[in-house]
Subunit: 367 residues, 2 copies
């Protein structure tokens, strides 16, 4: 089997409500559908999301990278030769989400070619994950309203709260209101997206010591090396590295440096192949992992749950799998559904999702 | 004074001969001229170079970033408010060379507005730098031929040799031939661009212990964290971090980790403003610095010597300032000249260079 085309189709779907956090805001899904075609007719799909504040990629750069670099370099390659393909992708720095999407689309092809769902090819640990919903910036009242609505509609009882604001007491008030509204059994954890200083992070998390939080992600900039280590020493919660852990070398360095003690694995940036490496590194070093979300649409979310459900350690905690519920529409012929707080993998070859051609025609912006 | 336009003009000038190294090859300067215009008529220029294997940028992504992100964000800003402008630029990850070029173009404006050369505004330590010429991949004979030609033509007696090949004895043969041809007084140092494994790096550099080398840059991938530390422990030369030290946080982490003991400062990626921060960090931590070259054209090289000559520590070693000699043409009204092994700064406001409009019209590829 040989790759005969790598297509990158930009599309645009609005969000029903904007999603705000310390490093940026998402109002529209300016995403790119990556489609890889083979000479045997098997086609794989994945989704790339432009996150300039995290990776420096734009919709324009994603399309150009697929068209000018990766497409030509992969022409004629065997999709099963993943290690060779990784070597080709790895010659280019950055461009995390387009490289991740190419890898996931190739796994979609592998699963389809073998007649196996990807979650089984990867590890087959379980077939669903508990969902953690991200609560974006707002007032205590709006946060509670959103969390209760998602719990009511989807049965979700785990929430990641976006914090990192100044003054940090705004964040504390929000978390306190959420704990009060959701009761003692809800999973609650924090993501500051580097928005706090080191001192603010320690003060804020300490002020929430009674709230039973489970994790705090990127409390302050990891590039403030000694300050970040001090935060990790001070806090009695695992500190999750996300933006600071975008490739295996960074994961190793941050864990060895004690800049974090847990790691967010995002299929959107490391695909399946490199995420496998990161998983091995984290398990070997004793770092907890959490399946993160790059504010993905349905296809990206399906890729995340496919990877997360395949392994014991990635499915041990709720995965961040619900950002798509805020999108006005999506591209799949059969939408994803979260119910009883769970998202299931698909028991069909590959990722198990097909693209609705009419919707793609409607939302694509390259024609 | 207010910024009224940020233009990014892609252009294409061939190299007379290709320049090869472990992480890539340059055959054509697919660069971008960044031009910033102000309401008072003062205009600044700088050059951005696409280096996908180092930063993931393309000519397309550089133009799009300036047009879609940085141009709109800087409209109306005061060029003197460098700290505010840095905050704006810093909201976007990656995109190093376009951000660096915007900063240098702003300094060009400051110098012109104040009637002062930038080297004086920055520090004014000296007015020229010794030039180190980079010798790309080739045979021992071709390397010697190139080095002797550059010595004959420009008086250059410092050479950085591109290594990192397999088998590493090819590199040793080349370095040995260069030392024999250039005599004991030439400065010789190495850049492996992460091409060797850790074991190869230690073996190769040890095999050259008698050659009087001064530095070895990126001997192996810094992302192999423990292996790289082992290399730094083993070698008795300073190990220069370059690709692994692209922003202040990375510089701090690599130095504190002992992943390198010296740092390449490249104006092409950190402009003047962020390079000042890196310089302070390196001096404070006791790390040697070397002025690196991103395979710059004349405008980028002039920016490098302007920064390098301004400070004692950056001018203490030869700077990598001669890649432009391999370009078939360039954009400046008055070409740079290296003579007696020295490149001088310009004693005119700003960087002291003007763009030849006819040449720009000829080489630009956006019309």
């Amino acid at each position: 089997m040989k790759i005969t085309a790598v297509e990158a189709i930009p599309y645009r779907i609005p969000y029903v409500r904007p999603f705000g956090f310390a490093s940026g805001e998402v109002r529209v899904a300016d995403n790119v559908l990556v489609r890889i075609v083979t000479d045997e007719g098997t086609v794989g799909h994945a989704e790339a999301v432009a996150r300039p504040y995290t990776y420096g990629e734009s919709q324009v750069s994603i399309v150009a990278a697929a068209r000018d670099w990766f497409g030509p370099a992969l022409m004629g390659a065997d999709p099963f030769a993943r290690e060779r393909i990784q070597a080709v992708l790895g010659r280019t720095a950055g461009n995390h989400t387009v490289r991740g999407a190419i890898d996931v689309a190739l796994w979609d092809i592998l699963g389809r070619a073998l007649g196996q769902p990807c979650h089984a090819l990867l590890g087959g640990y379980t077939t669903s994950m508990r969902v953690a919903h991200m609560v974006g910036f707002g007032t205590p009242e709006s946060a509670v309203e959103e969390a209760l609505a998602v719990r009511h509609r989807h049965g979700v009882t785990a929430f990641k709260v976006k914090v990192g604001r100044s003054p940090w007491r705004v964040d504390v008030d929000t978390c306190r209101a959420l704990r009060a509204a959701l009761g003692p059994d809800a999973d609650l954890y924090l993501d500051a997206n580097r928005g706090w200083t080191a001192e603010e992070a320690v003060a804020a998390v300490t002020a929430m010591a009674d709230l039973g939080l489970t994790l705090v992600e990127e409390p302050c900039p990891a590039d403030g090396v000694l300050a970040r280590r001090w935060v990790v020493e001070q806090l009695s919660l695992p500190v999750v590295g996300d933006e600071s852990c975008t490739r295996p070398g960074e994961v190793a360095r941050q864990l060895l440096d004690r800049s974090c003690t847990a790691v967010s694995i995002k299929v959107a940036r490391t695909g399946f192949t490199e995420s496998l490496r990161i998983l091995g590194l984290c398990e070997g070093l004793g770092a907890a992992v959490v399946m993160g979300n790059q504010v993905d649409g349905m296809l990206g979310t399906l890729a995340s749950v496919t990877f997360g459900a395949a392994f014991r350690s990635t499915s041990a905690r709720p995965g961040e799998l619900s950002n798509f519920v805020a999108m006005a529409d999506d591209l799949l012929t059969e939408p994803l559904e979260i119910s009883d707080g769970l998202l299931k993998v698909r028991e069909r070859p590959g990722l198990g999702a097909d693209i609705d051609d009419d919707k793609l025609d409607h939302y694509r912006i390259d024609r």
